[in-house]
Structures are given as structure tokens and as C-alpha cells.
Amino acid sequence: MSLNKLTIADARDLLKKGEVTSVQLTEACLSAIESADALNAFVHKTPEIALERAKAADARIAQGDAPSMCGIPVGIKDLFCTEGVPSQAASNILKGFKPEYESTVTTQLRDAGAVMLGKLNMDEFAMGSSNESTCYGAAVNPWRREGETTPLTPGGSSGGSAAAVAADLCLGATGTDTGGSIRQPAAFTGTVGIKPTYGRCSRWGIVAYASSLDQAGPMTKSVRDAAIMLQAMAGHDAKDSTSADIAVPDFEAALTGDIRGQKIGIPREYRVDGMPADIAKLWEDGTAMLKDAGATIVDISLPHTKYALPTYYVIAPAEASSNLARYDGVRYGHRASLSSGEGINDLYEKTRAEGFGPEVQRRIMVGTFVLSAGFYDAYYNRARKVRALIKRDFEQAFEAGVDAILAPTTPSAAWGLGEMKDANPVEMYLQDVFTVTLNLAGLPGVAVPAGLDAKGLPLGLQLIGKPWGEAELLNTALVLEQAAGFVSKPAKWW
């Protein structure tokens, strides 16, 4: 088997036994990346940095006592600031930006010995569900419908991360999730993605979209790999005031495969009208699998679910309009050229019109509107109140004894690139219907590949856990993964 196809867990074990080196693993990934330009997943490649870190990792492993991520080649979403390496959030407004600092999450991965292969495609500023809204051109899903060659979306916003992991260009990748941006692409590519509890991973050095919702997390080939990689990414950081000063448990050690006595909630409000039969069946099958493993299944109600999307699409743009005010053409990134007689306001307005893509502009303006005088109470404050009710729904379910909640990850399988081109923005927003509630409630959620649809495309199930309950959540995800036995890989066409 080619080394780039290994899981993190297997690669770690082989590295420890001295049967492979990090340099070999890294070279296998670099050569896979070189032949995968058709996927447009890696948008800034860093082979020199990768080989340098691989050599250092090999030296460290030889000395013994290396952490699990040591020597493991990974891809990094373009949203993470990486020192001296372009970090532009897939936006033209950050063209040429090379940070003088490293984000906390990527610093922790680097310190654990992980090898950065390069930066991954995404939707601009993490705003999107198809990775089509990007200055690099769309990332492409390695999966295709059976007997078709139509290029499909890998999902978004962490579409490059998902495509890279699914196509074995790296062993794992970082993603970020504001409304579903880790879990939806994971579902579309047959990979595993976990959005941790808000505050579990530091947001410092990650380009901000909506600060009260953004969380980083790993995207991997297995649940065990997600546990290993999250371990390296998580932890308190004094530089992020919302990062939680709570001990990080040993996630991998929690993977016992025993969920007997656990109570799994099935939220009735997630049975939306027009749910495809494939997805409804997948959900039923997943429920049966957890029951067979000894869990108790209970119907639950999360009555404010239908208001999650409109709440999100007030709060996220509001925070974005504030966060993205910093892109003014003065301190970094793109600056518009001015005609004679134009002043500072022309500089701001032209720079932002040229630098931001249409969806980003739209969200900034929606956010500006809902925060403006006369509308702040009607929209923004109301949304914050509904958000409190959405969170309360989950709290009441957990108080009633539910340990985790099972739901589909997405309302459909991956669609064709360009197919949603004429859709209005709201139709695209509906893609986040099952994922966005968790971000509003700050809860952890993991997407697990659980089956294929009639056209041979992967579908995911999502498990939602209690705050700070990632260890138990990953254990339940492991049971689901083992029972579903999802082993399909996309046939290589690229």
C-alpha cells in the first residue's frame, strides 16, 4: 500500500517500530499532491518545509518518546496563519499576505512534530458550503457519481481539507467550522470531521469569520485519527480569551467501543420535509446500529431547530461585518490603486470592492444592516435571544439524561460544481440545516461516513455531544464507524 494511504494511527505505529520514516511518508504525500492538481485542494505547497520537518521528526522518533502526531504529514486550511507561508483565507484581499506569526493550533501541531505539506483550498473567509466561493477556483471532490464524470463539490468551507484527506494527499488536515464547515465536507467526501466544543481549540491566529461560532478541528480518515489529531490541537491558550482553561482528556484512551447504557436522542425536528429516502434510511440504520451496540434510543424534541438557520444568518454576518472591517488596504493585503484626487474613503471602498468576493461582500452588508441603528434590536438582539433558546433546547435534552444525539450531517449528497450557481443565497444556506444548531449552542459534533447513496456518493451521520464531552462523543462515533463498516474510497481519476 502506498504510504500516503495510511491512517494516522497506522503510520504512527509503523514510525514507532522504525518500519517507515517520516521522510518516506512525506515524500509519498508530496508525490500524491503533485499528481492531484485536478482536485485543486493544495493551493500553496510547502515541500521544503515538509521535508525539513520530516527529517526533524525522524530524529525525534529515533530518540524515542515522540508524541503521536510526530512525523505525520498533514494539510492546513488556508484560514490558519502560518509563519512565512501565504495565508489568505482564499481571498484576494489577503493576496501576498505572509504572516510573521503562527496560529496556536498549527504551533501545537508543529511542536507535536506534525509535518505541514501546504495550505488547503476553502470558501473565502470560510463563508460557503461548496468551496466555489474562492479566489483559487473551486476545489473538486475526488468522488464522482457512478458512471459520470461531472465534477462535484467537496463541500465547504473546508472543501480542500476534505478533498485532500479523501484523496490520500495527506494523512489528516485541519478544518474550521462556523456553521458546518468541517462536518458537511467530511460527509461529502466519506471522511471524519469533528467540531469540538466552543473554546476547546484556540482561535488565535485563525482568520476570524464569526468569533462566537468559529472552532478548529481535525479532518481525518478514521475516528481514531480524529481523536489523535484533536489531542494535539486542543488546549487552553492565554492568547484567546474564549479558550477554555479545562484539562484536555486523553481522547484516544476513551475509545473503548463500549456504549452500553448510553442514551441516544433522535430529534424529531430534524425529520425535515423532502428528506431524500437514502438519508432517511441511513439515519434509521445508524439508530439501529447504536441500539444493537447496547444504547437506549429515545425520541427527543429540540423545538427551536427551525429557527437555527435564520438565527445563524443574522449572527454570523453581524460578527463578520465587524471582524472584516480590518481589511482596509492599509496594513496588509490588497490595496486598490487610486486616481488623482481620491482620498482615504475611496481607498477603503475600492480596496474592499476589489478584494472581497460577492458572497463575502453580501454577508458584510447583511451584517452591517442588522447592526445598524434602528435594526439592531429587531434583528441582532432578537437573534441572540433565539440563540439562547436553541441552546436551552439542547440543555433540556441533556438534563433529561440523553448522552448524545444522532442526526444526518447533510440534507443531500455532494452536488455538481456550478449546479447551485443560479440558486439564491438562501437556498445555499439551507445546506447547513443540520449542522448549524451546534455552533449556536457551542456543542461538539462529529460527522462519520456511514453509507453510499444510490449514485455511489458518501453520506454521513452526525453525533452531537455534551459540552466538553468530545471523548465520549468520539467513542460513540467509533461504534458507529465500526458498525457501518464504511471502507469505500473514491476511484482514482485525477
Binding site: G199, S241, K306, Y307, D346, L347, A353, Q361
Partner: protein, 96 residues
């Protein structure tokens, strides 16, 4: 409740410091109105007596000493500037 007319779209674009050409304003107004319509659903929710959420996880904001923790990195700070001169960010003339 409210739709966004062309004048409102113009004002929002101005507040957001994004230049929008006059001929693009009708389409912008239409798209923003569509998004706003979607948000109107929130008016169905009874929010009487509900406090707006300020923090998603219960936490007390940490305090720290108000002291200098780093500095002396003018070069690094100016490194990515589109126009830096003599240790400053340069911008077009602001005051006549």
C-alpha cells in the same frame, strides 16, 4: 417587516465601505431583501423574558496584568504593508 430598497442598499454599502456601482444596486437590494425575508421567521418566536446570549459557554472573562508583554517588532508589523515608509503605514492624504 422591511425590504431593502435601492437607497437603503446604497447606505449599507457606504457604511460597509464597499464601493457598489449604481447599476449594481437594484440586484444587491433584491438579494439583501431575500436574505432579510428569511430572517423574518424569527418574529414568530416568543422571546419574552429571554436574555440575549452573550457567551455560548458559561465563562468568566479572564483578567491579566495590564502590562507590556512584547514589542520591538516594527519591521514585522510593517512587513506586509502595501505601502510603508520611514516606519509608518502610508495612506492617501486624509486632511487638506
Amino acid at each position: 417587516m422591511s425590504t431593502i430598497d435601492i437607497e437603503t442598499a446604497r447606505r449599507v454599502a457606504k457604511l460597509a465601505r464597499i464601493r457598489v456601482a449604481d447599476e449594481s444596486l437594484p440586484q444587491l437590494a433584491e438579494k439583501l431583501s431575500g436574505i432579510l425575508d428569511f430572517m423574518e421567521q424569527l418574529n414568530e418566536v416568543n422571546v419574552d423574558g429571554v436574555e440575549p446570549m452573550t457567551s455560548v459557554t458559561p465563562m468568566r472573562l479572564k483578567r491579566r496584568q495590564d502590562g507590556v508583554t512584547d514589542g520591538n517588532m516594527q519591521d514585522k508589523i510593517l512587513k506586509n504593508a502595501p505601502d510603508a515608509r520611514e516606519g509608518f503605514f502610508a495612506v492617501p492624504k486624509v486632511v487638506e
